[in-house]
């Protein structure tokens, strides 16, 4: 034992069971500070590998800096600075501090710290959000290209770390903003995810159609409860979505066959809760089979008229509501008691 300490009882003389119990009550920054007090504690903590029990982690990648949050207040920022990396953070006296790491790539530095954060994470994270590519309103073309390179470097290096973990990182909600689906594929195969949100970060091609083929072949795809894909169109088959409970997707066009397929799935499968699909079409209501009774029309102050068709389902006391408003069609399971008076059930 290298640290000097008094012969009387102190933290360093406590049995492992006591140390483990105390560590179990500390958050990640506190454990890191304790680790720095002396080599005895450093060795102990490195051996025990306490779970930082991170609840959430948000990472923002920009063309010349990256920063992340893992609780309300802690957010180190890493800037490209010539051939080095400037790290900005706040001391416990709330004073900003800055340190220049010469000849260090800022992406390598931030990844080192993020890896430190995630290495011992064993518990399920509530949320992991990575804004890997988001172009601001005004951005030079070369900056956009640089941002893409930085985000690729960041994601592929983070992928290496996640792939090296013996167990997939468990995350309830994984939210990622990217330039293309391939960037999602860097990380998703190494995560155990329930809810997935993908946002197209390129502002210039909101009408791009994502090629999701590789994504839907992942084992993670089948395990998803919720899927949300924003700012781009998808070309997914309805049958590829029917394991989900909830989803929000944009299709360039939808047709009557898709609506019928989804309607039948909702009528026979009790796990389906809510599917919200947007389209460029403004006349979706004409896609509904005219033989169905309805629609029940409800006026909403924000979105205007909402046309709803009601259907019985296989589960007693429940119904399916198909609502159409503006460019959206929404499939929702509900309880009988919420069917409005005067509405007809198909």
């Amino acid at each position: 034992m290298s640290a000097e300490y008094p012969s009387e009882k102190c933290l360093l003389t406590m049995p492992d069971v006591v140390m483990n119990k105390v560590l179990g009550k500390l958050d990640f920054p506190a454990i890191q500070c304790l680790r720095k007090t002396c080599s005895t504690l450093r060795t102990f903590i490195d051996a025990v590998k306490p779970d930082p029990a991170l609840d959430k982690l948000q990472i923002y990648v920009k063309h010349d800096n990256i920063f992340f949050f893992f609780d309300e207040y802690v957010y180190p920022q890493y800037y490209m600075n010539g051939g080095g990396c400037s790290v900005k953070w706040y001391g416990r006296d709330d004073q900003p501090r800055k340190k220049l790491l010469k000849s260090e790539n800022f992406v390598d530095v931030v990844l080192r710290d993020i890896n430190t954060l995630l290495t011992n994470q064993k518990s399920v994270m509530d949320s992991l959000k990575i804004v890997a590519f988001r172009t601001p309103d005004v951005i030079l073309e070369e900056q956009q290209e640089l941002l893409y390179q930085v985000s690729e470097e960041f994601l592929s290096n983070l992928e290496s770390h996640l792939a090296s973990k013996p167990k997939k990182l468990q995350v309830k909600t994984f939210e990622i903003q990217v330039a293309e689906v391939a960037q999602v594929l860097h990380l998703l195969p190494h995560l155990d995810v329930k809810n997935l949100k993908i946002t197209n970060g390129r502002r210039v091609n909101y009408d791009a159609v994502l090629n999701m083929q590789e994504l839907i072949e992942l084992e993670q795809w089948k395990k998803l409860d919720t899927l949300e894909i924003l700012h781009c169109f998808v070309n997914l088959r309805i049958e590829d979505l029917l394991h989900l409970k909830r989803c929000y997707l944009h299709y360039e066009t939808i047709n009557s066959a898709m609506i019928e397929e989804l309607k039948e799935a909702f009528r026979t499968s009790s796990h389906l809760k809510s599917f919200r699909i947007r389209s460029t079409q403004s006349d979706i209501q004409h896609l509904m089979d005219p033989r169905y009774a309805g629609p029940h029309i409800h006026y909403d102050q924000v979105v205007g008229d909402i046309q709803t068709w009601f259907f019985s389902v296989s589960t007693p006391e429940q119904f399916l509501a198909i609502s159409i408003v503006a460019h959206q069609i929404v499939f929702e399971s509900g309880w009988w008691v919420f069917v409005p008076e005067g509405a007809t059930i198909n």
């Binding site: 640290a3 000097e4 008094p6 009387e8 009882k9 102190c10 105390v22 009550k25 506190a30």
Partner: protein, 190 residues
């Protein structure tokens, strides 16, 4: 949570005698020993809860009379509390304590650690967990240097001139982790 102070005194039928490491005897009500898993198991094994069984004094070689006195004070206070339920899986535990506990544990660090050892030895989970929470509350939010001061830890590594954190000659920045990242008033614009 509050509880009533005990009103009954131990009688030969409902107590056992424990002997501290310095030879002092303490008469303990069997009701109080239920909070100590070690004593409860011993009483069950030797059937000391039966009135027709002769009860030999129980030696507690690891616990001094001063510590035993302190522990009995804890047991008395928590006599009517419900059985302890372990539910703090993660660190997200409360660092607020009832006033009685704060006063009870307003003792020097070395005494606190001795009491912690005693609570561990006697397996009194509520006391053990409470002291661990107190220790954690004294660590949380402090820098490495402040923790050293509070817990009287002397380090064998030299400090970084700028951050005040210890540096080991053979350690890289990655090994140093992120210890000095800390609280700040407001997040940067996203």
């Amino acid at each position: 949570m509050s509880c009533e102070e005990p009103t009954t005194s131990p009688t030969p039928e409902n107590n056992i005698t424990v002997v501290s490491s310095d030879g002092k005897e303490f008469l303990l009500d069997l009701k109080l020993t239920e909070q100590s898993e070690t004593l409860a198991r011993l009483i069950s094994n030797f059937e000391y809860d039966r009135t027709d069984v002769k009860k030999d004094p129980v030696p507690l070689g690891n616990i001094t009379s001063a510590q035993m006195q302190k522990i009995i004070e804890w047991l008395q206070h928590h006599r009517y509390y419900p059985k302890w339920e372990q539910n703090d899986i993660h660190y997200s535990t409360s660092f607020t304590f009832e006033t009685w506990v704060e006063e009870y544990l307003n003792i020097p660090n070395n005494e606190m650690f001795e009491l912690l050892n005693a609570a561990n030895y006697l397996n009194i989970p509520r006391l053990f967990s409470t002291i661990c929470r107190i220790m954690a509350s004294r660590i949380t939010g402090k820098s490495a240097e402040q923790i050293r001061t509070v817990l009287n830890i002397k380090t064998d590594v030299k400090n970084d001139v700028y951050t005040g954190i210890p540096i080991q000659e053979d350690s890289s920045s990655s090994e140093d982790g992120m210890s000095e990242i800390s609280l700040s008033p407001s997040p940067p614009p996203i």
